[in-house]
Symmetry: C2
Subunit: 324 residues, 2 copies
């Protein structure tokens, strides 16, 4: 079995070769930039690990795995325009550095660079690979739309929120694993189990990310906590709190998220206190663990020897283990 | 052989079924809008005609042809943001109607709807079809980049201009025909000849479009003439005029395009006069005809009976015949 580090290297090597043209370097400089400023390469590594479950020949999956990473970064470039986000991974976002017009166009070319990479899947599995990729890409766009819609909407239900993060985040993790399995020529059942593993893991990850933004250790988490509270972002915590709170507490919470002029630290503390009183953190962590366990149950059922699953298990534990 | 009208109907039917989701209708309303406000369906019809040259079974090409049209409209949605264009085909552009954020995201989903349609090509020819599509999509993005770059650049050579319109316009017409040929299982040589037919036709069309914007009959052309002059757009006419003019004439032309405060009608008349003195219109029309003839020479060499080529020939003549 190949280690995560080795697979990350393979991905990086494949990505380095992408996006250049002697004719229009302005188009590709931002592409290389966003692909170079870090990121854990989580999705391509998972894709390659899923392939490696079924086959020791993973070369066929490297370009499609790179394509998934390019697609993921494409969504970041465009989402950062929509979110007016100026910093990503500690560096200026593409639109902050080169303007929105350039970010639109450099993002666009990444969509097709991604599909071009997917096109390197072996002919035998290309139709299935492409289908899974396209379907997922469309779903991710729907997820981003729901995210935009929900930010403007007064009341968002937990159900709506969970479906939004499923589309915006979880399905791409799921498809990364499924595509690896497809290229590894897994059975349809195993492909679906890996999709479910990824979907549940993605859900657990996103819910935990919400918890960490409010409760995380700034040092370990790598970014300042409380951002979501200050910006009134509709996280799992806020959505659940608005759903659960009643009477005076609900009024207080509503007032806090309707005004933006108070002291930020004070707001963080007050909202946190409301969350604590409603036991929202506990609830969120329990839900994340439910998803985490669901992910592992799916992986357990995949019909390869347990020892082949160690790399994927370790990666999943490292990913979710952050919370503790 | 199928007529253009019938093929247009087929395309429209395929396109009508695209882009819906019970979950995020806001995402797809602009998609259906841009696909419904007209357009000649030139590219998908050419794709189907190219397929029909080699095969009477064109069903396999309908979805990929629709995908090409969706891709073309995707580029329009995003280009209109970059060009700050508020009107397209007599209707408000997507960003004018729903805002730039929505236009970015609805455009994005079209990129993947397009690829999904391309994915319906028969398995046997899918790798080749996808490769041609992706390569072309990337080239179109490069073309748009060059267009943006050139608008900011002082001096653009004819060579640069021609390469820009080749990438931005001609290669997609070329690929439409090539993809039709691929799905019709044409020989590689015939695929290449049809690509060349489309490329040359696309070049002729774009150069003529430049001529028509300045010299066209407003009624026949369907839009007001002189727009390019007023907005100082780097058309073939302007690029050539700046290359050809000398002395006082060059100074006058430079002054006209560096200031924007004069009378529009006056500016149109003066610039037209300079073009006329330099015989730029004649030169442009000659170049368009050179490309037009090159297109027909390529089509002539395609190894099917001449009578099978009538629909394509008629369409090409109607397209370019507009100028006279």
């Amino acid at each position: 079995m190949f280690t995560g580090d080795y697979l990350r290297e393979l991905t990086d090597k494949a990505i380095t070769g992408l996006g250049s043209s002697s004719e229009a370097d302005r188009l590709f400089v931002p592409v290389r930039y966003i692909l170079s400023i870090g990121g854990k390469r989580l999705r391509p590594v998972m894709c390659l690990m899923a392939c490696n479950l079924f086959s020791d020949k993973i070369d066929n999956a490297v370009m499609p795995a790179a394509g998934i990473e390019v697609f993921h970064n494409f969504t970041l470039v465009h989402d950062d325009i929509l979110d007016r986000a100026d910093i990503r991974r500690g560096s200026p976002t593409v639109h902050a550095r080169w303007g929105a017009d350039q970010a639109i166009l450099s993002g666009d070319v990444m969509a097709f660079l991604a599909t071009e990479c997917i096109g390197h899947a072996p002919e035998k599995v290309l139709p299935q690979t492409l289908k899974s990729f396209n379907r997922t890409a469309i779903e991710v766009c729907i997820g981003q739309q729901l995210d935009m819609d929900y930010e403007k909407k007064g009341v968002v239900t937990t159900e709506e929120y969970l479906r939004m993060i499923e589309l915006k985040t979880a399905v791409l993790v799921a498809a990364s694993l499924k595509i690896g399995a497809i290229i590894g020529e897994a059975s349809e059942k195993d492909q679906d189990l890996l999709y479910e593993f990824g979907r549940s893991l993605g859900m657990a990850f996103q819910i935990q990310d919400d918890v960490l933004d409010t409760y995380g250790d700034t040092k370990k988490f790598g970014k300042k906590t409380g951002n979501d509270i200050v910006s009134n972002k509709k996280t799992y915590l806020l959505v659940r709190a608005l759903e659960t709170a009643g009477g005076e507490k609900l009024r207080e919470l509503r007032k806090l998220i309707e005004t933006n002029d108070g002291n930020a630290e004070e707001k963080i503390t007050t909202v946190r206190t409301i969350y604590d009183e409603l036991e929202i953190r506990l609830e969120a962590e329990n839900l994340a663990y439910d998803y985490f366990n669901r992910a592992f149950r799916a992986l357990d059922q995949v019909s390869v020897k347990d020892e082949r699953k160690n790399e994927l298990k370790e990666l999943a534990v490292n990913l979710i283990g952050r919370v503790k």
